[in-house]
Structures are given as C-alpha cells and as structure tokens.
C-alpha cells in the first residue's frame, strides 16, 4: 500500500467515524515514514487517536540554545502515536539561565511536567568547542570548572523553584576533533574536557530528585556525526543539524517523556513462529526451526536476548501464539538454541484462538490493565487486527527484515525506564511463581491438596536493622489484607519496637516455587492480661493460602507465653481491605465493641486454641517466648 492510498483510507475511515481503524492505519503510516510531512498529517488527524485509545495530556518546555521548531511537530506526532497529547512550549534563544534563575519567569508560570535543558557545547563552552588549541592546561581546567559550576547552579535553582522533571542534555564533541588524532593521545584533550563536564552533570543530576541526563553524543552517534551536523543550516537558521537528524532528537525526547508519563508497558506479549525463532514449528518441526548462533538463527536469538533484558528491567513476558501447545512447550522446554524458557513467561496462550481474545485473557490473568500490554508479532495482519480490536494495546511495528526486530524493540520508547528497583528486577519471577501456582491449583483436586502441594514455609523474623525498611514499606503499601491499615515510618516502628510490651514480627514466606521475600507483618501490644493486635497484614502476593492462620496461631502462643488471657484486635474497614473483613470471625473471635470506625474482636486464649495449618511449617526466631 502506498502512502497516498493509506492517507486516503485514513480520511475515509475518519469520515464514517471508524476511529479504531483510522488509528491503526495512522500508526502504520507513521512507522513507515516518520517524517515532517507525516507528522503534520498525523497531528491534523489526531482526533481519531483521542477517540479510540485516549491521549494523556503532558506539558513540556524546552530551554534551548538553537532552533528546535522543526523538531516539535515530529516530536508531538510521535508522542500522539504513543498515547500522549503534548503541549510544547519553547524558551527563547539562550535565555535558559534567566528563565531558571528568575522565580517569576514564564518557565515556572507555565507549570510544565517535563523540562528539557538543551544546550550545545558551542553555546555553553565555545572555547572548548573551537578554541581549545588556544588554551593551556590551566585555562582548560578553569573553563571546565566554569561550565560545571554554571550547570550545577542552574540545576539546584531549578529544583528549588519547580516540581517538574528536568532532563539535561549532556555536551557533545564536534564532528571533527580540534586536535585530530592528537586528541586521543593527550591526557587533557578536547574529548576529555567534554567528558569531565558530562561526568559532573551526571553527579549533579544524581544529587537531586527528578533530574536526569540525556546522552547527546550517543544520540548524534546513532545518526552518525557526518550525517548529523549541517554547518550551512546552523549559520543561516541556527539549526545545527540536517533534515535527517530531526527524527533522532524527537525520538530521544519521546523516550524521556514516555518514561516520565506513567504510560508504561508492563507486559510484552510475544508471538513464537518467525518471531522468537525462524520458521513455522508446525511445518518445519522441532529440528527445522532456526534458533542458534549462526545466520539466520542468530537474528532470533538476538531478539530473545532483548526480551530477556526487558524482563530484567521489570517488564513481564507472555506468549500468544497460534500453535500446537505441546509442540511449542517442547521447544520452550528443550530446544538447545532457546534463551527463553517457560520460567521467563508470566502467562502463556498457545492455542488457535483469536489473539485479541488471548491478550484480554493474559491481562485478566495477570490482573493488569489491557493498556499495559505491548504486542510483538511478525505478522502484519495480526498486528492490524489487534490494533483495531484493542486500540489501547501498544502494537510494535516491525521492519520487514527480521534482522531489524531486536533493534526495533530496543529503540521503542514504551519500555524505557529511568530507574530500576530490586523489586522491578524480581517482578518477573514473582509472576512466574504465581502462574505455576495457578497451574498447580488447577491440577490439585481439593483446596487442601493444593495447600499441601505448595509446601509452604514461613519464618517469623524479629524486627531489626536489616528488615525495618521493608516492614515500614509494607505498612505503607499494603491495602487489601490489612486489618487496621495503620501506616508507620521506619522511625515510628523503631519507637514501637523499643516501647515496653510491644513486639513487631516480620513474616518471610517460601514455597516450592521460590522465596517470596518478606510479605507480612504483625504488631502485638501486651497490657496486663490482654494482648492486642495493633497491626496484621499480608502482601496480596500470598493471600488466600492460610498463612494468616499460621501467623495468628503464632500470636496466640506469644500472647499466652507473656501471660495474656485474651487476644483482641480491631478491624477497621477501608475501601480496599474487604479481603480481611472476616478474618476475626473465621477464627472464632467474638465482637465485643463496634463504633463508627470499626469493630473490636476478642478471643479467650486460656481455653481456645488457634492451630497452625498442618501444611505450613513455621520457623520461629530464637529467644521467642512461644514454643
């Protein structure tokens, strides 16, 4: 299909109100040719994007020392295709210092979400850009320090005056190094000077929340320095780069804006045949598919490596493939060329169903919104189908040549993250454990069989230096299985732990699928003959597995060992803690008081017993009162 026909079809769809179809075609047009003309076309027809998948508004301000105007339509069109409705304001030429330093400036008044500080080396450090040959070592050092201090001051002042995210362009070297091959021989060269400034920029960014750096040099390198710079255009229009460079800058900005927008893809759903491996399993067979270190198998291996990298970044992987499930599972389990194995996938749909249906099921199974899915498939018909049926799913447009698949995925803005926590790195394994549990649940006859097969072990941890951050975080984040929803800071927990009569216990859970980490907390307060449960909570990862009963049994023993005759506790209902509502009644507590905020429950622990489920083994801390 040529561009003109595609554009005509889009306009026809818009006329009859088929927005999802228009949107699908518009996405395909954009990926085919992301140019200024396409950008103008996309922006004038972005209504169909708004109607079918919604656009999240974001306000961006660009402080710059060069002409960026021609980049803006491309930036906005690319963002619209990715679900963002950008308002872009530009600062004046070289007025960034005034704008940042003046608290009443338009910069702060415009209340942006993201601010780019796009300064070029030739504007902030002209002596290092083309006058370096004139400078001795001392003058170079002085110049470097001047630039670093200038940036430090701007970043600090910006942070004081604004809540917005700040993205600072690092400095780039010229197309030709001023001192030629001498540059790389010398210790204090032009390249070194620029590198020193960039290192200082990174440290300044690290010192502040919400400040990030952009590797300008790497972006230029992606395009190629000789293709990037256009001196004539710089001298005539203050546009430093060529027409082909614009798209690289727009794409780089979009990566940051997308990562900061919160509109992130959390799951990548991939096809199998001709995507994860070369060939069609049903036709070529186990031994015929291409997946090894040579050509063409290496192309698919590179894609698998990319998926693995994304999974380490916290993005879940899932499979949607039209295939014979047993054959495909055999490849995933046994094929020596595969890098990805079943344990990398949080959900799998290998069947002959419609893929839109499979994607809906995957989202439901993982308990995530369908808009957090991205879809990877070599077949343009499947891609188009998913685009029109589920406009909120991010469908990755792939080049015709499979050799470009991995690069295309790595370049996509939807998987960009500006930070990765330990929790992100482990997320994939948690979800895979849950999938394996669900499979076990389906195979187990009764619920008790399922609990037994889980082989659960919990360890009660005394409050301490090594777990207090996690325990405080649990009180702050746990909403569902939480009896009182009392939020504590680390400092408050510390004070509680030291107060006479109160004890804090953490719970670590493990089962046959792995270690779930510290997933629960209880706070017990002892007063005379009454022990009160101040807090009892479990992460949603482990609810519905009788761990709460094991924990309660432990608390009963603790209370009794400390001389209590009654164990009591409040249930304080919130919008979210319904899963904990029947906890006390299920364990035969009696309601002894009710008021506007909740109910108080009590159990006579002199005569009543709460026994630990036989399928859970409990490890108690040393020095613990209960036996």
């Amino acid at each position: 299909v040529n561009k003109a026909d595609l554009k005509a079809s889009i306009d026809q769809c818009l006329q009859i109100g088929s927005y999802a179809e228009a949107r699908a075609l518009l996405c395909e047009l954009w990926h085919k040719e992301p140019t200024a003309i396409t950008a103008a076309f996309v922006l004038s027809r972005r209504q169909c994007l708004r109607e079918s998948s919604g656009l999240k508004p974001m306000r961006v301000r660009i402080l710059r020392s060069f002409t960026v105007e021609p980049v803006i339509p491309i930036f906005r069109a690319a963002a619209a295709i990715h679900g963002l409705d950008l308002t872009v304001d530009l600062g004046g030429f070289n007025t960034c210092a005034q704008e940042i330093l003046e608290p009443d400036s338009e910069l702060y008044a415009s209340n942006p979400d993201v601010v780019f500080l796009a300064m070029q080396t030739r504007d902030v450090a002209p002596d290092l850009w083309d006058g370096i040959a004139d400078l001795d070592a001392a003058a170079r050092a002085a110049s470097i320090e001047r630039v670093c201090a200038w940036f430090r001051n701007l970043i600090r002042t910006f942070r004081r005056n604004s809540q917005a995210h700040l993205v600072v362009h690092m400095l780039e070297g010229p197309a030709c190094r001023s001192e030629g091959i001498l540059d790389v021989q010398a210790v204090e060269s032009q390249s070194t000077a620029i590198r020193r400034i960039n290192q200082s920029l990174r440290s300044s960014a690290e010192e502040h929340q919400g400040v990030y750096v952009l590797d300008h040099e790497a972006m230029v390198a992606e395009c190629g320095k000789s293709q990037w710079f256009d001196e004539r255009r710089w001298l005539t229009a203050r546009l430093p780069f060529s027409s082909q460079a614009l798209g690289y800058l727009a794409a780089e900005w979009l990566r940051y804006v997308q990562a900061l927008s919160g509109q992130l893809c959390k799951v990548l759903v991939t096809d199998l045949d001709n995507t994860l491996w070369g060939g069609v399993l049903g036709e070529d067979g186990f031994d015929g598919i291409k997946i090894d270190a040579e050509y063409p198998g290496g192309i698919y291996r590179a894609l698998q490596r990319t998926l693995l990298d994304l999974s380490r970044r916290g993005i879940l992987l899932a499979v949607s493939s039209k295939n014979n499930a047993d054959d495909a599972m055999r490849v995933l389990n046994e094929h020596p060329g595969m890098l990805l194995r079943p344990e990398h996938f949080a959900s799998m749909r290998i069947n002959w169903n419609d893929k839109a249906q499979s994607l809906r099921e995957i989202a439901a199974e993982l308990n995530l919104g369908i808009d957090s899915l991205a879809f990877l498939d070599d077949n343009p018909v499947e891609r188009h189908r998913v685009r029109t049926e589920l406009p909120m799913v991010t469908v990755l447009e792939l080049p015709e040549d499979p050799a470009g698949y991995a690069g295309c995925l790595r370049a996509s803005p939807v998987f960009e993250r500006l930070s990765v926590t330990d929790e992100d790195r482990l997320r994939s394994s948690y979800y895979v454990q849950q999938r394996q549990q669900r499979e076990l649940e389906q195979h187990a006859g009764s619920l008790e069989d399922f609990y037994r097969a889980l082989d659960q072990r919990i360890e009660i941890l005394p409050f301490g230096q090594n777990n207090r951050a996690r325990l405080a975080q649990l009180t702050q984040k746990t909403n569902q299985f939480n009896l009182t929803t009392r939020r504590y800071s680390e400092q408050q927990l510390l004070a509680l732990a030291e107060a006479p009569g109160s004890s804090i216990y953490g719970i670590r859970a493990e089962d046959r699928f792995g270690d779930a980490g510290i997933v629960g907390l209880a706070i017990l307060k002892q007063m005379d003959e009454t022990a009160e449960i101040d807090t009892l909570l479990l992460s949603c990862r482990v609810i519905g597995r009788t761990i709460e009963t094991a924990l309660l049994s432990f608390l009963v023993n603790e209370g009794r060992a400390a001389g209590a005759r009654k164990l009591q506790g409040w249930f304080l209902p919130t919008k979210k803690n319904a899963p904990a509502a029947s906890f006390y009644s299920k364990h035969e507590f009696t309601c002894i008081e009710e008021n506007g905020s909740g109910s108080l429950w009590s159990l006579d622990i002199e005569c009543s017993q709460v026994s630990c489920p036989e399928w859970i083994s409990v490890v108690r801390p040393e020095g613990c009162l209960a036996q």
Binding site: T35, S44, S243
Partner: protein, 88 residues
C-alpha cells in the same frame, strides 16, 4: 514548471505542512500572501521537502523559494539532477 504533477505535489506538501486546505495553495502563493508562511514555516517546508525527496537545498536555493511556483520549478530541476547523477 513543465510538469503539472510536480506543481500539484508541491501544493499538497505546502498545504499539509501549513495545515490548510490544498485549494488555498495556488501557484502564486508566497510568504507575502499566505498568512502563516513565516521564516519558521519556511524552514519547516524546506525540511519537509528534503525528507520527502531525499534532497538538500543550499542557502542560496532557499532564498529563491519565493512562491509555490518557484519552489516547484526548483524541485523539478533538482529531481532531474538526481536522475542524471543516478544514471536513470
């Protein structure tokens, strides 16, 4: 301009870049009589054509692009030059 198709295509590009209906873009349209044809839009237009045809305009050529007709004529000349150098 000897090729009417090139004139037509130029008009459509101008209309798309300036976001106005093609009917409003005439051969004699110029920065003097089209309201939003300022220096930044001129740069946008030049870039759009460079990307579309894979060509480059020199600063001297940019100065000659004073109307839609002149732009089309220049485009025609440059595209011929491309064909000649590519031996087509």
């Amino acid at each position: 301009v000897s090729d009417p198709a090139i004139l037509d295509r130029t008009r459509r590009i101008v209309a798309t870049v300036f976001d106005i209906p093609t009917d409003l873009v005439l051969p004699e349209s110029s920065p003097d009589n089209l309201e939003n044809w300022d220096s930044i839009q001129h740069l946008n237009l030049v870039i759009a054509m460079e990307q579309e045809f894979g060509i480059q305009f020199t600063p001297e050529e940019m100065e000659q692009m004073l109307s839609v007709e002149l732009i089309a004529a220049l485009l025609e000349e440059k595209l011929k030059g491309c064909e000649a150098t590519h031996g087509r």
